[in-house]
């Protein structure tokens, strides 16, 4: 196989991959439960955390839970209302940070007074449950025990705009909060990216003859 053909095919495949990724839509926030996830309200591993009184908006396709871990366990979500399951989903182990996004089956219509139960798999260390202090009657539970507050939950849905249509806002944001301002940041990144591709291709063609 001739090297230029391999290179062209490889770069074309990468370009197609970029195009396909850009045509996807990022998840957007539908609503949150008005809880600020800045306090540690409890911790657990291998436990189930339940929280009643949630409003599950129509079109929800993922839940972002304010759980903190360095090597998070598998997280399974089961939402129910009036004893009937509404949706379910899970995220695998190995996540890190102060939040985990759990994809769930799309919710067809808004469900008020839903009960969200979060099953935490076995973990290397305790998972922090982040939220706000509330009255004991409103608080989440872990197993049979009450926590000191409620967990922050953000409800997400698939975005309606592709990354292509978000190029302008993303380019504008890239120009904020950096040493260089404005469109120059995005342009520089593009020029450097082009140089990477061009130089790499040229070097491969000359050296791998």
């Amino acid at each position: 196989v001739r090297l230029p053909i391999v290179l062209l095919a490889g770069l074309a495949l990468t370009a197609i991959g970029v195009g396909l990724s850009m045509s996807r839509s990022p998840r957007t926030v539908l609503a949150d439960n008005s809880i600020v996830g800045e306090y540690l309200i409890g911790s657990g591993a291998g436990d189930t955390v339940c929280q009643a009184g949630e409003v599950l908006p129509a079109d929800t396709s993922a839940l972002h839970l304010s759980l903190g871990a360095i090597l998070g366990p598998k997280v399974t979500v089961l939402a129910s209302a009036e004893g009937q399951p509404v949706t379910t989903g899970s995220a695998g182990s190995g996540w890190l940070g102060q939040g985990v996004t759990v994809p769930v089956k799309r919710v067809a219509r808004t469900v008020s007074d839903a009960r969200i139960c979060i099953e935490l798999g076995p973990a290397v260390e305790q998972v922090s449950i982040l939220g706000n202090r509330t009255a004991p009657a409103d608080a989440a539970t872990i197993g049979a025990r009450g926590l000191i507050g409620r967990l922050r939950i953000v409800y997400l849905r698939p975005g309606r705009r592709s990354w292509w249509s978000l190029i302008t806002p993303v380019e504008r944001r890239l120009g904020l909060g950096h040493a260089i301002s404005g469109i120059w940041v995005a342009l520089l990144i593009l020029v450097l990216g082009g140089a990477l591709v061009g130089l790499t291709g040229g070097l491969l063609l000359t050296e791998l003859k």
Binding site: V1, L3, V6, L7, G10, L11, L13, T14, G17, V18, S21, P26, V29, H64, G68, I70, L71, P73, K74, G92, S93, G94, W95, L96, G97, Q98, G99, T101, G121, P122, A123, V124, E125, V154, W163, L166, V170, R173, L174, L176, G177, H178, A179, I180, V185, L188, I189, L192, G193, A195, L196, V197, L199, T200, L203, L204, T206, E207, L208, K209
Partner: protein, 502 residues
Amino acid sequence: VSLRRLRRLRRPGAPAARLRAALARLPRAAWLCALLACVNATAWSLITPPFQGLDEQDHFAYVQQLAETGSLPSSSGETYSPLEHVALRDLHFEGVRWQVENDAISSRAQQRRLRRDLASKPSPLGSGDAGSAASEPPLYYGLAVVPYELGRGGGVLDQVQLIRLLSAVIAGLTALFAYLFVREALPGAPWAWVVGGLVAALAPLLGSMSSLVNPDALLYAVSAALFYSLARAFRRGLTRRRAVAIGLVTAIGFITKLNFIGLLPAVLLGLGLLTRRAARDSRRDAYRCLALALALAAVPIAIFLLANALGGRSGVGPVSAAIHSTRKHGSLLGEISYIWQLYLPRLPGMSDDFPGVLTTLQVWFRGVVGVYGWLDTPFPGAVYDVALVLFLLVAASFVRGLVQARAVLRARSGELAVYALASLGLLGLVGADSYIAFLANAGLYLQARYLLPLGALGAAAAVLAARGAGRRWGPTLGALIVLLVLAQDIFSQMLVISRFYG
């Protein structure tokens, strides 16, 4: 006297002239790999918002402390200077870190507030806190003082960007030494060297880490230089100049980052083997070279011990504190079992230290493929599955390359043992550190960046994989490996842009 010295330096035999001649002899491809690594890291430096690189706020505080007061940080607290505090606050540092639903600042009003608050000239004098960076040796931070001072007129954002550009230049050195290492270690197929150099230059983990205010950038370069120095001495024999190179690089490593200690056993074994080989010609010269290398390498250790003794701290500072902590709370068997499971699946009879997690794949493989931001920004799960299939195909060719070269490798078993010990030493050190944190319930050291000092060996593995496909198909496979890493880099940059600016 100055004129005489200048003339001496210009003489063809003078060290500076020799260095110039050596640099001029380097192949064009090596320089281009260095340039590519530099370009790649520069792009990453523009993509990652200021202070949103791993622990960047701590490393910047260290540089600031050194530049403003001329002294090293005195505490691992996180009370930064008013200037850094204002920048972190107005950039929404805490709100963005570990919280993937929050983007970097996104409105002109936020930008105006940031500019206005920074223009009010808050003090750059801190309390001496540098968070997790406080215990690190000072070389990188000392170098970073130069761009810090150059950016003083422009403000803290310019200073951060200029220090990041210093790291990007150092990334170029890493790729250069990786290329030179594969040239020395695998001289049989010159066409394949560029594969190793490009894999190092385009690796997104190296690009992203070497685009930050972070001494890891220099650690990677020094480690690659160490592998190159050792490979050169193994191929061409131990001379006084090569002994000086190994000693100097080791000394530089010690004053760059404590993780370099993990490579020390390999340096000692390497010097031992090289000395034994050189002693066949002249015992006296061989032992002189050994003494020279060890003496040079030991200088920073001696200074470190002296500084700790004068400061009333225990002999080897944080290292002895770590050993003490392990002895007090853990057990040797427990530690060995933990370190094994940190990298490999649990064996029967071991207690489960990582329940529900297969660290080999979920931590290390995923980390090398790409987990960005504050390790809170992974690719979708399917990407790792595809990457695993591709990795296994390349690994199969690597094994074939090893088998084909078995006769040569057997003859160079001593050298290979040195590289294996370097890998074990580094993995063991990271594992031991992680075990201490595990016992204290103070976090885990589960970051693929800790493996990057072994990047030169990774470059050599890519070369062997390309060679494994034979002379006919090798260049094609080599080009495909490089294109895969290039694609990985492009998609990684897009992922980080979507994380912080989407």
